[in-house]
Symmetry: none
Subunit: 226 residues, 2 copies
Amino acid sequence: MLNLLLVEDNIDLASGVIDYFSLENIRCDYANNGVSGLNLITENAYQVIILDLGLPQMDGLTLCRNIREQGIDTPVIMLTARDALADKIKGFDAGADDYLVKPFDMDELVVRVRTLSRRRSGQMKSLTIGKLKLNLLDKTVYCDDQLLKLSPTGLKILTLLMSNSPNAVSRNTLIERIWGDASPDSNSLKVHIHHLRKQLDLVQQSELLHTIKGHGFAFRLDQPHE
Amino acid sequence: MLNLLLVEDNIDLASGVIDYFSLENIRCDYANNGVSGLNLITENAYQVIILDLGLPQMDGLTLCRNIREQGIDTPVIMLTARDALADKIKGFDAGADDYLVKPFDMDELVVRVRTLSRRRSGQMKSLTIGKLKLNLLDKTVYCDDQLLKLSPTGLKILTLLMSNSPNAVSRNTLIERIWGDASPDSNSLKVHIHHLRKQLDLVQQSELLHTIKGHGFAFRLDQPHE
DNA sequence: TGCGAAGGTTAAGGTTGGGTTAATATTTTT
DNA sequence: AAAAATATTAACCCAACCTTAACCTTCGCA
């Protein structure tokens, strides 16, 4: 079953699209602005992303360029108003794979979605560091052949850390990207890290998760010691 | 030729800065509030952005966070009043690259602008001096293959010194940039420098850290000649 | 030669960031 | 609705870290 993301600030349009998709048996996540769209994209594996060009907080082109720079090559369909098209079309080397001028025909959109998803299906998306392999599509984490059991939050944290490896991720970044600005008691992160480490311990991989005091955490092979 | 943006609500200060910049052959756009600043930023490519912390409509921190969320990584220098500094300094991971306490010396501002513009939009990921390599992203310092173990403050000091190399950094600058105005006993800096030297000694690199008597410290290869 | 200023060294607390655990609350699944 | 899985909170611990204070060294200069 297809799993899409729609990033669109017009709620009426969005709900129409989503309803139509559900009739076609297509799952569709939804974000009404660029920033939460970006968060969803980095934390989930979509087959196709549908982006409105004009978005609050972060416009579609910027968002698209942004995710491409992160190495995410999920197919992107850009939605744009007819009059905005002319001067924007050249910008499509930002990395969009297709575009559609509003107002568009729903069937047309579905066709393009299916085409794009077919084009890149079977493409493996995973992160591997040390013996640890995180599969972004099915959200599984293996060490050799052993499956780790992680909570949703634990998985998000691990995904963030692994996709930034070997760089450090600050506590603030982590909190912001996982909880938004409605951050809970700062202890929560500690506890999640602790749970994560316990799971990693089960497969003797917990030394991959390094604490950078005064900053945050990093996921990488080498040991910061002496 | 450098092309900057200054966002500052105090018009007298702003015009002073702009005049001084023009003498230095630096172009500088100007906005007197956060919103028009944001508009200019999204529409133009600046080498450096100078932001006042307290702005009408949208304060500097918010603006900074906002543009970072849009994926704009133009270097930002934050201007702040001395008394506002202490409680704000921790918020600087909003994405500012540097800050300056008002009132500041114009030459100081020019130096920082030039430094930041040189290091290509914060894309500089590591600093290397002698055999020492400081990686800004993963917060590690290596000499050859040996990892140095530094405290958070030690790392900050080293970062400041290395990023200003081969220039000297004054004690006052060091203290101001690391502790804000809530500076501790002046001895603290001495002790931190001492710890730093001990760590550098472990890899025979302590002669990189030079004392400039009556001024501060410098991090560079050659000896400061008499 | 002796004094003061600037910097360096050392060791003793005090503080705190991060870790741990367990109880409680929330959400999801059944 | 009960049970199970997750998430959050609170209380506590500890080692690393920071600061302080007292003392030491060096150097310029009266």
